[in-house]
């Protein structure tokens, strides 16, 4: 690991470039110090930026391409017999070569051709490493030199430097776009590969979900069916239970806090509710699996009901608890945004407080509340840890919350945790499920944000 060393050398180079640029500014100004357009340190910054930006770009490019270039060079030099293997075996061979390089030289029992490749790999690695140092440092020096030469009293260094900074800020703000594009592309790309193997319609309308694919083609039960309807139904069932808890409790507590509570009660109860939102979901999952699910099962046994120990009810109940503060704080905002004049008008007509809330405030706030509930539903659909820990794995198509169901997120986790091969539909199915999840939550969010914004404009 001497890349940190290179970074250190670069750092020293930057300081030197800054100093050189600054001195040059003094130098070119001579006695006419006021003739300089910008303050001297801007000339220094300009030189330093021209040193660091090309060097860093080159470094990043080099580090990301190095492995690929070396590998393809080594593969190209392998004897034809080794090169013409299947891609999988070639990958294995390359890994083997890399391992031997990492452990310091060819293994004693390696094939001669492989031993040559190992040596070649190591030589290339060393070459690439040396070349990287030279290239990166010279890029920095050349960049700084060019910038240094441009320094003159009439040179607008400050504007240039600020322009570069502004460009960097712009890049920062586009990361969000890149993230979205990255999500869409990565999920879409693998999904398309999945849909090549499994027709879209089968996936969206099939009633059977058992993603086990066979190792041998003649194995029993090897078909691997990918009908996702049971997962969608399970997700909806758990989310429904969650909303049954979160919507009334969240809404009523928001109403109480904004309309009835004294400011002291408000100041203590609101942060307490927020604590519920700050608890990690894995904690809720553990709580659901260890405490709530056994409790429900025992209660069910007393009542003569058979409750699965991984029931949708337990997962949904705990998920509902988690979402309460979400619903309550969104509704609270909306209710507070209803103009006081409407309340006063209602009171003036002799309405009681609850009548005002029910007949005036809630109808006025309804779009906002609906938007908040939609956001809450989207959160419930995307929630992972609670269902992974408390809901089951078996894809039952049922509307009975006492039975065990599985959800989209549970299946994504089960399919992707552990060993994966990226050419089996089993792994790719997770990405198709991810695509559905992304699209559904996106749709819910867009609608919700739209509704909330429309509503807000109404009273502004």
């Amino acid at each position: 690991m001497t890349t940190p060393m290179l970074a250190l050398v670069l750092l020293m180079l930057i300081v030197a470039a800054f100093e050189a640029g600054r001195r040059r500014a003094f130098h070119v100004a001579g006695n006419e110090f006021r003739s300089l357009h910008s303050r001297p340190r801007y000339y220094g910054s300009y030189t330093a930026l021209w040193c660091i930006i090309p060097a860093l770009l080159l470094l990043v490019l080099w580090l990301s391409l190095k492995e690929w270039v070396i590998t393809s060079l080594v593969i190209a030099e392998l004897p034809a017999a080794l090169r013409s293997q299947s891609p999988g075996q070639l990958d294995l061979l390359v890994n083997d070569i890399r391992n031997q390089v990492a452990t310091g030289g060819a293994a004693a029992d390696a094939l001669p051709a492989v031993a040559i490749a190992v040596d070649r790999y190591r030589d290339l690695q060393w070459l690439s490493y040396t070349a990287m140092w030279v290239a990166v440092l010279s890029a920095g020096i050349v960049g700084a030199g060019l910038a240094w030469r441009r320094i003159a009293p009439q040179f607008w260094a400050r504007n240039r430097v600020e322009g570069i900074y502004k460009g960097l800020l712009l890049v920062c703000s586009t990361i969000a776009i890149f993230t979205t594009v990255g999500i869409v592309l990565s999920v879409l790309f693998e999904s398309i590969r999945f849909f090549n193997a499994v027709p879209v319609l089968d996936f969206l309308t099939g009633l059977e979900w058992s993603p086990q694919t066979a190792i041998r083609s003649d194995q029993v039960g090897s078909s691997g069916s990918f009908g996702a309807v049971p997962l969608f139904a399970g997700t909806l069932l758990v989310s429904f239970v969650a909303m049954m808890v979160a919507a009334p409790v969240g809404l009523m507590s928001a109403i109480y806090l904004s309309e009835y509570a004294s400011s002291r009660v408000r100041a203590t109860a609101k942060p307490m509710l927020e604590i519920l939102a700050g608890i990690p979901t894995v904690v809720y999952g553990y709580f659901a699996a260890l405490t709530v699910a056994p409790m429900l099962r025992d209660t069910g046994a007393v009542l003569g009901l058979s409750v699965s120990s991984e029931s949708a009810l337990a997962a949904g109940l705990v998920m509902g608890i988690m979402i309460i503060p979400f619903v309550s704080s969104l509704s609270d905002d909306v209710i507070n945004a209803v103009p006081q004049a409407m309340r006063d008008g209602s009171y003036a007509l002799g309405a009681t407080q609850s009548e005002t809330v029910r007949r005036v405030i809630l109808p006025a706030a309804l779009p906002g509340i609906v938007g908040g509930l939609l956001l809450a539903i989207s959160r419930a659909i995307g929630e992972t840890m609670i269902v992974v820990m408390a809901a089951g794995l078996s894809a039952n198509l049922t509307a009975n919350p006492l039975e065990s169901v599985t959800t989209v997120t549970v299946q994504i986790v089960t399919l992707l945790v552990g060993d994966q091969e990226f050419d089996s539909p089993k792994t790719l199915a997770a990405f198709a499920l991810g695509l559905v999840l992304f699209l559904v939550t996106l749709l819910l969010n867009v609608i919700a944000l739209h509704v909330v914004r429309r509503y807000r404009e109404q009273y502004e």
Partner: protein
Amino acid sequence: MDTAEKVRAGLGKRYAAERRFRLFGMGAIVVALCFLVFLFASIIGNGYTAFQQTFIKITVHLESEVIDPRGQRDLHKLRTADYGALVKKSLRAQFPEVSGRRDKRKLYGMVSNGAAFDLQAMVMRDPDLIGKVLDVWVAADDDIDMLMKGHIDRGRPEAERRLKDLEVGWIDRLIADQRLEMRFNSAFFTAGDSREPELAGIWGAAVGSFYTLLVTLLLSFPIGVGAAVYLEEFAPRNRWTDIIEVNINNLAAVPSIVFGLLGLAVFINFFSLPRSAPVVGGLVLTLMTLPTIIIASRAALKSVPPSIRDAALGMGASKMQMVAHHVLPLALPGMLTGTIIGMAQALGESAPLLMIGMVAFIVDIPGGPFDPATVLPVQVYLWADSPERAFVERTSAAIMVLLGFLALMNTLAVFLRKKFERRW
């Protein structure tokens, strides 16, 4: 009947409805808070015992014939010596009447596998101990620990118990000899993960969390603040800016597991970064926390009054100077608060990390952001899946530690907000 009478007649009913409605509201809050209390009670009630651990005092003769037969004090020899045999010997000496292979196996199972490592560490630290007879406190096996903590019921029939009458008898004798004691469980805070509950600790996961959060912080704070500054101070109001804004709002609501899919497909498959490494976890969490930080930072920038900007521009500062010298310092506390809240979210996040392989069973303490590691919430998930009874209390205790860190971070955020909050 005139109107006033009509109204009066219905008044009782209306007041009752009013009281009912009010009660519902209060009930909702009480219910929510009860959930909170119940959650904490269940976690703490399950977990507080994990901070104690049963220890057994064994009298070991550190025989030089076993450890270092040639007396060379060669460090390699000292490391590879059979300390397990010494532990077994001391147990046999303690209970000389035990015979038969099965009973002996049970006897050796009384103390943790870690006992041999304890002896090894002692000898490595001080080779002069060789040849001496010492009293050493070693961790008891997790079943004994569970019995001592009352999770294994002595009253149940022998066949249904994990510990048989024979073992319970030995335990009682040890207690009578004052050779069995509950002590502070320091391994829980200093060890990495282990399959043996009595040896498992959270330090490895805590270090993993630290590296992951470090990467997240180093990336998301500058990028988030940069993006917020650009959008709030420089961006022209046009379509492009609108797209960015809508994007950020949407990203804030994308399920976290989708970020895990992104990390798997992009960082691991495409850029072939190492699996299970905190650096990948940090990258994924950066993308996840960016919206939070950007939104908070923009709010902080918005709250700086325009007069500050006007004054700076009026004195001849350029726009960049105005932002860097005047607006940013005033908005920084708000941005820091938002960042800490974002970091707290990242600390509690586990779903996307499952996707990028941070669920592996890792015993070693990670030495850097490229080493395989796991994080605290994922450790909780892993332990919650373990069948041993002793992991239940450890999971709860790990949750308590995790919640402790979260409380600390949020308190810090509240403190910062209170201290630097300015009303203009």
